[in-house]
């Protein structure tokens, strides 16, 4: 084979990229199936350990930052045989006062104006600022006209967000099953990437939501909507995609 595919200058002749595809090998099927099952099983088996660790991390940071919170674990059944525990937090959820609303309104308007005037050169950032501004203006409007209608507490927000993060941890192996495991990377790289993504999400999520707690405890729940919409699942997804992109740039096994 080497004799056949070596050019006269000594280099191996590769197929043109337009004609390239991957050979169907045993690993193309076994790796996706096997790794997905193992990774899913790992997450499912250790789900309560994961959520307990999240509770401990959040409790640590709340304690360190002087926030008065009670953290317990709540069992959530799914059907009859499966259940998972989620941290349940009890802490004060301060509502915004008139001054806070006015200040927030002014800051948002200023930010959107600056985005329009100064950031047109980098349009995506301007759009992001405007999107955040629109969501925050909706929140300001709601709190201005009907503050008691806001249905969430800080504890409920964090519990719900951690539930979603747990679901994301289960989705990660499914994503990699179709997007990474079938490709020409070594088994070690596939395992490493999976573990790295799961570990980073596991560590990042409780710290992220601890930040949410700090912001809302020291200000008010006025910020909860943008924290939910923009600073919740989005940074976690950015992290997953970033690590995946890095993993895709690793050296492949030659076919």
């Amino acid at each position: 084979m080497r004799w056949r595919y070596r050019g006269h200058t000594g280099r191996l002749i590769r197929r043109h990229r337009a004609l390239r595809s991957l050979d169907v090998q045993t690993s193309s099927i076994m790796h996706p199936l096997g790794l997905t099952i193992v990774a899913l099983a790992l997450v499912l088996y250790s789900r309560n350990v994961i959520t307990q660790a999240w509770a401990d991390i959040i409790a640590f940071w709340c304690d360190s930052t002087g926030i008065d919170v009670t953290v317990s674990m709540r069992q959530t059944p799914v059907g009859r045989i499966f259940s998972y525990s989620v941290p349940e937090l009890r802490l004060a959820s301060p509502l915004p006062g008139a001054e806070a609303l006015a200040l927030s309104f002014a800051i948002v308007i200023a930010a959107m104006l600056i985005a329009y005037l100064c950031l047109r050169r980098f349009l995506p950032l301007a759009y992001l600022v405007w999107a955040i501004g629109v969501i925050h203006l909706c929140a300001i409007t709601l709190f201005y006209f009907s503050p008691t209608a806001f249905p969430y507490t800080i504890g409920g927000h964090v519990s719900g967000s951690l539930e979603v993060t747990l679901m994301l941890l289960m989705i990660v192996p499914l994503i990699l099953m179709v997007a990474y495991y079938p490709l020409n990377f070594s088994l070690a790289k596939k395992v490493a990437l999976t573990l790295f993504i799961l570990l980073m999400v596991f560590l990042f999520a409780p710290h992220l939501y601890a930040c949410h707690i700090v912001v809302m405890s020291f200000h008010s729940v006025l910020y909860m909507p943008i924290l939910f919409a923009v600073f919740g699942a989005l940074p976690i997804m950015v992290m997953i995609i970033a690590i995946y992109g890095w993993g895709m740039s690793w050296e492949q096994q030659r076919q």
Binding site: R14, H16, R17, A18, L19, R20, S21, L22, V24, S28, I29, R120, R121, F122, L123, P124, L125, Y127, L128, A131, I135, C138, L142, F150, P151, Y152, G156, H157, G160, S161, E163, V164, M167, L168, L174, I175, M177, V178, A179, P182, L183, P225, F228, A229, G232, A233, L234, M237, V238, I241, A242, Y244, G245, W246, M248, S249, Q252
Partner: protein, 465 residues
């Protein structure tokens, strides 16, 4: 392993993708139902207005997105592992058809010389080739440059000069096509520099009498200018290397792209020629040919450089033009596509999904609004499902709605190195496309149609000096 066994093995992968994707779709549907039930329970326990309409809309949008994700999953796995179709690539000796190469040019003095210089040097029988640059009311030295080439290569270069007529590329091409009597017209933009073997590669599919149009792969040349050009390079890679080629493999509907491509003159005449009122004459032609029984072929091997926009304003103009044109074609041909006898069921389905790609952006924004409404109404679970779903798609390409893994697979096949690491930054490109496609859609419906305004063509700026 024999060809048959290889195909069987590769077919297994595609079927596996289909089963897997269906399971994913079912999972998502189940998640939506589960969330709806949970939120309905909560609404029943804590009586307050339950927003039924946003739930239905959100659920529907999630299902549509999941359908597109499934489609792109199948495309990706097929492109990676499936049987790759390049049936016409090996034709290197033949009684070649007569070719007319059209190059519309409006103020192209910076680039036209390179294009013409490359075309006079191509490997194609000279007696079967006419190169026709069309000067469309240029105000610079374009015509002077074209005339110089005509003097040097009188047997090859047959320029046209257009003094009057409608605006837009479609009008120019129509004007030129009416004056050719060759079998095939091949179109190049003035900034394209074709390789020596490109014309034969583009002409070969026309030995198949069912082929009405052919399209090659455009490769961005000004990739390294800034972040935008690099992100557009990712987008193009996903769109051509995976999306178009997979549609070719699966015998779906590869799209004619308007440049680095060509059409059979007989087929053009049959379907009414180029439409001057079509903002996306390429999409328009693809579907008219399809409805008349012709196929469009994609040639992944036929590569040619192009320039991508280098600033966001140019990019906005480009994507809005594409969105308007594409949706215009959707309005015109979706119903006919559902009824035509010339296509298979799977072509019909894929054709409809393809027509709908630029309608997804406003749907996505509506979905975001519904998710936020539900959130403010206390239904965080359902809102979260929506948000996570939307985030999954927001690292892909908006134009053909390619998922992020499709872009990554394309770069993998291209043998690209570190550029795939830019994938998380593609969120910005997606965000800009999302907003501007939505603007274009609303502009098309509420301004152009209701006010009966002519759609206008904005020429993409040239950067080469």
């Amino acid at each position: 392993m024999s060809v048959h066994r290889q195909r069987f093995a590769r077919g297994l992968i595609t079927r596996f993708a289909l089963v897997l994707g269906s399971l994913a779709l079912a999972f998502y549907g189940g998640a939506v139902v589960f969330a709806a039930v949970v939120s309905a329970d909560k609404a029943a326990a804590a009586p307050q207005a339950s927003l039924f309409a946003p739930k239905i809309v959100l659920g529907t949008i999630i299902v549509i997105l999941a359908l597109f994700m499934l489609r792109h999953l199948i495309f990706t796995l097929n492109r990676l592992f499936g049987h790759q179709r390049h049936p016409y690539l090996d034709v290197d000796v033949a009684d070649w058809p007569r070719l007319a190469v059209l190059i519309p040019a409006h103020n192209e003095e910076a680039v036209i010389a390179n294009a013409l210089g490359a075309l006079v040097d191509v490997d194609y029988p000279a007696d079967r080739l006419r190169i026709i640059p069309i000067d469309d009311r240029s105000e610079d030295r374009t015509w002077e440059i074209i005339s110089r080439f005509q003097r040097d290569f009188p047997h090859l270069i047959h320029p046209l000069q257009r003094e009057a007529g409608g605006e837009g590329k479609a009008a120019v091409i129509r004007f030129a096509t009416e004056q050719v009597d060759e079998d095939i017209v091949i179109l190049f933009d003035a900034d394209y520099v074709p390789g020596r073997g490109l014309l034969k590669q583009l002409a070969a599919p026309f030995f198949d009498p069912e082929v009405g149009a052919v399209m090659g792969r455009v490769v961005p040349q000004n990739t390294g200018t800034n972040l935008l050009t690099r992100l557009l390079d990712l987008e193009r890679a996903g769109g051509y290397q995976v999306d178009q080629q997979a549609r070719m493999n699966l015998q779906l509907v590869p799209q004619y792209g308007g440049s680095v491509g060509g059409a059979r003159v007989r087929a053009l005449q049959q379907v009414g020629g180029w439409r001057e009122d079509a903002l996306a004459e390429d999409t328009d032609l693809t579907y008219r040919l399809l409805l008349h029984g012709y196929k469009t072929v994609y040639e992944n091997r036929s590569e040619c450089y192009e320039e991508v926009p280098e600033n966001w304003q140019e990019r906005n103009r480009q994507i809005m033009r594409w969105a308007k044109g594409h949706n215009q074609a959707a309005f015109r041909y979706a119903w006919s596509l559902m009824r035509t006898p010339h296509v298979s069921l799977i072509e019909r389905l894929d054709g409809l999904l393809l027509l709908g790609v630029y309608a997804v952006a406003p749907l996505l924004l509506v979905g975001w609004v519904c998710a936020l409404l539900l959130y403010f109404n206390g239904e965080q679970t359902l809102a979260s499902v929506g948000v996570v779903t939307f985030l999954f798609v927001s690292f892909g390409a908006m134009g053909n709605f390619a998922a992020f893994f499709e872009i990554a697979a394309a770069l993998h096949l291209d043998g690209s190195g570190n550029r795939v690491r830019l994938l998380p930054l593609n969120f910005f490109n997606f965000l800009v496309s999302l907003v501007n496609i939505t603007r274009a859609c609303f502009g098309l419906i509420f301004v152009d149609y209701l006010l009966d305004r002519d759609v206008r063509w904005a020429k993409t700026r040239r950067y080469r000096r």
